[in-house]
Symmetry: D5
Subunit: 91 residues, 10 copies
C-alpha cells in the first residue's frame, strides 16, 4: 500500500546534527533496499523531500517515520494513495 | 528532469465532461507509454492526483499540462525535483 | 486499518438532492452494519462530519468514499491513524 | 456529550520531558478507564492525536485538557460533536 | 453551557431571501426570549455576527443552528466556552 | 461601544510569569467591576479567551489592552461590534 | 474615532452594476465632504481600496458601510485605529 | 521604477473570451515594445504569469493593469521592487 | 507617490530595545516633519501600525524602511496606492 | 531554462552573519557574471528578493541554492517558468 509523504526538515540554529544526518542516510538506504521507501526526491531549494512508502499498515508507516533519526526536526504530511484509473500499470 | 505535479480537478455542477474524461485517460496512457508521465497516483478521497513527469524543459512540461483535456478544470501545483543525497540510485 | 475522514458537504444553491441524501443515508447505514464505517459524528453547526473507517487498503477506502452519493458535493480530508502508545486497548 | 479534540505536541529542542510523558500516559489511561477519553488515535507521521472525549460540560473538558501534563506543549483544537442523522446507533 | 458562535452569511446574487430574513429574525427573537441565544452582535462591515448560546447539549445547539432559516447560506464556527478563572462572576 | 476581543496567550518555555498572571487577574477583575470588561470566557482547550469590552473610544481600548500585564505574550484580535437588527434589546 | 477599512469588490460576471457604481461614487463624495470618509486610496492592480473613516461609534460605521450601493459585492475588513505614540500630531 | 506583478487568470466556465485574449496579447506586445512590460513569463501548469513592469508612478501601473482586456478575470498581486545590494548592475 | 505600509513588531522575549524604541520614535517624527511619513496609526490591541508614505521611488521607500531602528524586529507589508476615482481631491 | 525564486531571509536574533552576508554577495555577483542568476530584485520593506535563474537542470538549481552562504536562514520558493505566448521575444 502506497503513501505519499512530504518531509520538511528544520534544524534549530547552532545544533550539530552531523551524526543524525549520517544515521538518517543509512536508514533511508536500508529502507530503500527493503523496498519500503520506494521513491525519495529532493524538493528544489528546500531541506525537504517528497517520498513514497510501500507498507502493509498505517502502524508500520508510523513506526518507520517516527523512528527516523531526524524525526524530531521534521514536519511530516502523509497522504494515502490509491490506484489511479488512468495508471498504465492498472489497465 | 523530474517534476512533482499535484492536480485537483473540480468540474462545475451539471457540466457533462464524459468525453473529456475519456480523452484525458487516453492522453495519460499515451504519455505514460512515452515515459513522460512516470508516476500517477490517486489521492484517496479526492478527485486529485500526485504525478511525476520526466521532461527535458519547463516549456515541454507546460505544453503537456496546459493541453490536457481536463486542464480548464484543474488547479495544478508544480514542484521541481532534484536528486536526493540519500537516493539509493544516486549512490 | 483505521482512517480519520472529515467530510464537508456543499450543495449548489437550488439543486434538489433529496434522492441523493436518502441514498447517502442508506449507504452509510449499510457500511456501518458492515463494520467499515465505524464512527460517524456530526460537526455542530456545519453540514460536515468526522468519521472513522476501518478498511484493509487505501484503494478500498477510496472506492467507498468516491462512490458515496454525495461525493460530488464533498470536500474530503483523509488522515491515516495508527495505534496510540497510550491507547488503553493497546496496553 | 462528545467532543472531537486534536492535539499537536511540540517539545522545545533540548527539553527533557520524560517524566511528563510518563505522567501523560498514566493520566490518559486513567481517563480512558473512567470512560471520559473514549477514543485516542495517533496521527501517522506526527506527534499528534485525534481524540474523542465524553464529558458532561465544557468546563469539565477544559479542566481535563488544561491539566494534562503535556498541555503547555500542546496546540489543541476542540470541535463539539452532535448525533449524525445517519448514525446507525441513532436509528 | 455556553458556546461562542460566529455566523457569516453569503446570499447567492439574485436570490430573494426576504421571507427567510424575516423568519430568521423572528426565530432569533424567540430564542433570545427563551434565554438560549444570550448574545447577538453584528460584526461591523460584514453580514456576520458573533453570538453566544446557552444550551444543555451539543445536539441541542446543532438542532438550533441547523434549523435557522438562513442556515443554508451560513458559514458557522462553533467554539465551546468554559468559565474563565478571572471571571468576576466566578469568584 | 462594544468590541469583541480574542486573546491568545503564549508564554515562552521556562519563563516564570506567576506574578504577571496574578496581576492580570487583579486587573481583569478591576475592569469587570468598572463595567469595561463586560464578558470574559475561556476558550476550551486553549490558553485563550473571548472577551467583550465596553469603551468610549478606540484609544481607550488600546490603552487597556496594551497595559495588561500579559500583553507582551498575547496575540490579540479586535473586532468592533454594532447593534444587530435582531437583537432583542434593540427592538 | 478612526477606523481603517479595506474593501475588495467582486462583481459577479455578466451583472451590470453601472448604476450602482455611479451611486457608490456619489455616496463616497458625499461622505468625504462630510469629513466622515477621510481617506480613500485605490490598491494598485485590484478593484479594492484602503480607506479611513472618522465616526463617533461602531454603529455609525456599520450603517455607512452596509448601505453603500456596492456593499453586497464587497468583502470588508475593519480595523480600529488608535493614536500612535510617535504620531507627530499627538506630541 | 520596477514592480513585480503576478496575474492569475480564471475565466468563468462557458464564457467565450477569444476576442479578449487576442486583445490582451496585442496590448501586451504593445507595452513590451514601449519598454513598460519588461518581463513576462508563464508559470508552468497555470493560466498565470509573473511579470515585471517599469513605470514612473503607481497610478501609471494601475491604469495599465486595470485596462488590460482580461483584467475582470484576473487576481493580481503587485510587489514594488528596489535595487538589490548584490545586483551586478548596481555595483 | 503613496505607499500603504503595515508594520508588525515582535521583540524577542528578554531583549532590551529601549534605545531602539527611542531612536525609532525620533526617526518617525523626523520623517513626518519631512512630509515623507504622512500617516501613522496604531492598530488597536497590537504592537503594529498602518502607515502611509509619500516617496518618489521604491528604492527611497526601501531605504527608509530598512534603516528604521526596529526594522530587524518588523514584519512589513507594502502596498502601492493609486488615486481612487471617487477621491474627492481627484475630482 | 528559467526558474523564478523567492528568498526570504530570517537571521536568528543576536547571530553575527557579517561574513556570510559578504560571502553571499560575492557568490551572487559570481553567478550573475556567469549568466546563471539573471535577475535579482529586492522586495521593498523585506529582507527578501525575487530572482530568476537560468540553469540547465533542476539539480543544478538546487546545488546553487543549497550552497548559498545564507541558505540555512532562507525560506525559498521555486517556480518553474515557461515561455509566455505573448512574450515579445517569442513572437
Amino acid at each position: 500500500m502506497l503513501f505519499h509523504v512530504r518531509m520538511d526538515v528544520a534544524i534549530p540554529p547552532g545544533l550539530d546534527v552531523t551524526d543524525r544526518v549520517a544515521a538518517e542516510k543509512a536508514r533511508a538506504l536500508e529502507l530503500q533496499r527493503a523496498g519500503v521507501w520506494v521513491h525519495l526526491w529532493r524538493i528544489v531549494g528546500r531541506y525537504s523531500n517528497f517520498s513514497v512508502f510501500d507498507v502493509a499498515t498505517n502502524d508500520e508507516l508510523h513506526d518507520i517515520l517516527s523512528t527516523l533519526p531526524l524525526y524530531p526536526f521534521m514536519k511530516i504530511e502523509v497522504t494515502p494513495l490509491a490506484t489511479h484509473p488512468s495508471d498504465l500499470a492498472a489497465q
